[in-house]
């Protein structure tokens, strides 16, 4: 990344190869929307280029890029929230459809059940689980990313796991 910062942009290619899959996964799990996640992943790399001068070489690149991804997701989420607030009727009307869709999902395969349950978790809890279970983050790293201690991250992760268990085994 230090080379990228020094305007050797080709050095971003190996970083892309290494991180775009995990980042895409992280964003898919957070948004539950593959198409948007591709756009968001692209945005993360755009921002990396744009803000490359702000990168501190002492900082682990992984932490930096995930911080970037979190911000991109937060921006996306706020945009979505505005859209949602603008059309409450729409949400009310699709409520029934969602229930039907969830019922259909339950019939579907096991794996979908898990993703469906994950999707029903509140975003902060889902994020911790995704980082911990899918992205291979330790509690120490999660703590740094979320701005809390490793112990607090562990407790949050365990609460999230309990919450997921309750949804997953609800029936």
């Amino acid at each position: 990344m230090a080379a990228v910062k020094a305007d050797d942009l080709d050095q971003l290619v190996p970083l892309f190869e290494r991180y775009h899959g995990p980042l895409f996964n992280y964003l898919v799990r957070l948004t539950n929307d593959r198409e948007n996640s591709e756009d968001l992943t692209q945005t993360v790399f755009e921002r990396i280029l744009k803000y490359r001068s702000s990168y501190q070489p002492t900082q682990p690149f992984k932490a930096w890029i995930y911080q970037m991804a979190r911000n991109v997701h937060a921006d996306h989420w706020h945009r979505q929230e505005k859209l949602r607030a603008a059309d409450v009727d729409e949400v009310e009307r699709t409520g029934g459809l969602c229930t039907a869709a969830f019922a259909q999902m339950r019939i579907n395969s096991h794996c979908d059940d898990l993703h469906e349950a994950l999707a029903l978790l509140p975003t902060p809890q889902r994020e911790i689980l995704v980082l911990n279970r899918f992205q291979g983050f330790g509690y120490e790293e999660i703590g740094k990313l979320l701005g809390c201690t490793a112990e607090a991250a562990r407790v949050k992760a365990h609460r999230a796991l309990q919450a997921l268990r309750k949804i997953y085994f609800a029936n």
């Binding site: 775009h20 407790v155 268990r165």
Partner: protein, 290 residues
């Protein structure tokens, strides 16, 4: 929490995920271990947590489409272009690696004057072609250029021109959209007669483009009262292989009540190479016609 000791359960609930992944401190682990044998509810929780953990580990990662990589490479290339000074000649790293996306125009060629020159050439070529090629002019002149083709004696020139243009006999093949326009206008421009019907039927049966064939279908439907249209439609049924045209034809013979199309429909309904939806449509059509 059906057990009498539900406060203990509540306290231990936060420890259970740690217990199930064996990351508790020795003291906490002992507390849980002491509680578990008496509490079926907490036992079930531990079993569920372990099952959930296994499922989470087994979940497959989602893979992005390759478009993501292409987009990234394009974005990177654009950024690199921005970095490089615009002055031509100082192209740094001009031999890109094989895996990179290379822009279609080398930087040296992308000068504004090349674009202007190219557009002038294009416009000139367009004007030249427009003046030279026969189908740019009115159908009557097109017929005149292909006068060697014997036109049916009774038919007026527009029909002959139509036939020539649609068959591509004049030596040049016409684009599909032009043929569609011609077919569509054939029923408006002149009083329809046998020759027009014949040309449209030929187009329906032998035009290489399914959209032109569909347009011929529509045109024939407008001429449905002309003699020969019904028989022609029925005869076209076994010839067509495109599912869109097949379905359009089935709909037409049904709505025109062409009873003699029934054997063709029966054959179509049994054709192994027809799409299931086409066969179903044919079956339904037979039901309505009989």
């Amino acid at each position: 929490m059906k057990t009498p000791d539900s406060t203990a359960c509540h306290e231990l609930e936060t420890l259970l995920p740690g217990y199930s992944e064996r990351s508790l401190s020795a003291a906490d682990a002992e507390r849980v271990a002491a509680h578990l044998p008496d509490c079926p509810s907490c036992q079930r929780q531990v079993i569920q947590l372990r099952a959930l953990s296994d499922d989470l580990d087994a979940a497959l990662p989602e893979a992005p489409r390759t478009a993501l990589r292409a987009n990234f490479m394009a974005m990177l290339e654009a950024q690199k272009q921005l970095l490089q000074p615009a002055a031509a000649g100082s192209v740094r790293g001009a031999a890109p690696a094989a895996a990179k996306v290379v822009s279609m125009w080398p930087a040296a060629l992308a000068g504004a004057w090349v674009r202007v020159a190219a557009s002038i050439v294009l416009v000139a070529a367009g004007v030249f072609l427009g003046r030279q090629l026969p189908w740019g002019s009115r159908p009557g002149t097109a017929g005149a250029t292909a006068a060697s083709v014997p036109a049916p004696a009774a038919s007026p020139p527009p029909t002959a021109a139509l036939a020539v243009a649609l068959r591509g006999d004049s030596g040049q093949t016409m684009s599909a959209s032009n043929r569609i326009a011609l077919v569509a206008s054939s029923t408006h421009s002149s009083a329809p007669n046998d020759a027009t019907v014949q040309v449209l039927l030929n187009t329906l049966n032998f035009d290489p483009n399914p959209n032109v064939r569909l347009a011929a279908c529509e045109a024939l439907y407008r001429l449905r009262d002309a003699p020969g249209v019904r028989d022609g439609l029925a005869n076209a049924l076994p010839i067509q292989t495109d599912p869109n045209v097949q379905i359009a034809l089935i709909d037409m013979v049904v709505s025109l009540r062409v009873h003699r199309a029934v054997p063709q429909l029966q054959r179509l309904a049994k054709r192994p190479d027809a799409l299931p939806v086409v066969r179903a449509q044919a079956e339904a059509g037979i039901g309505k016609l009989i």
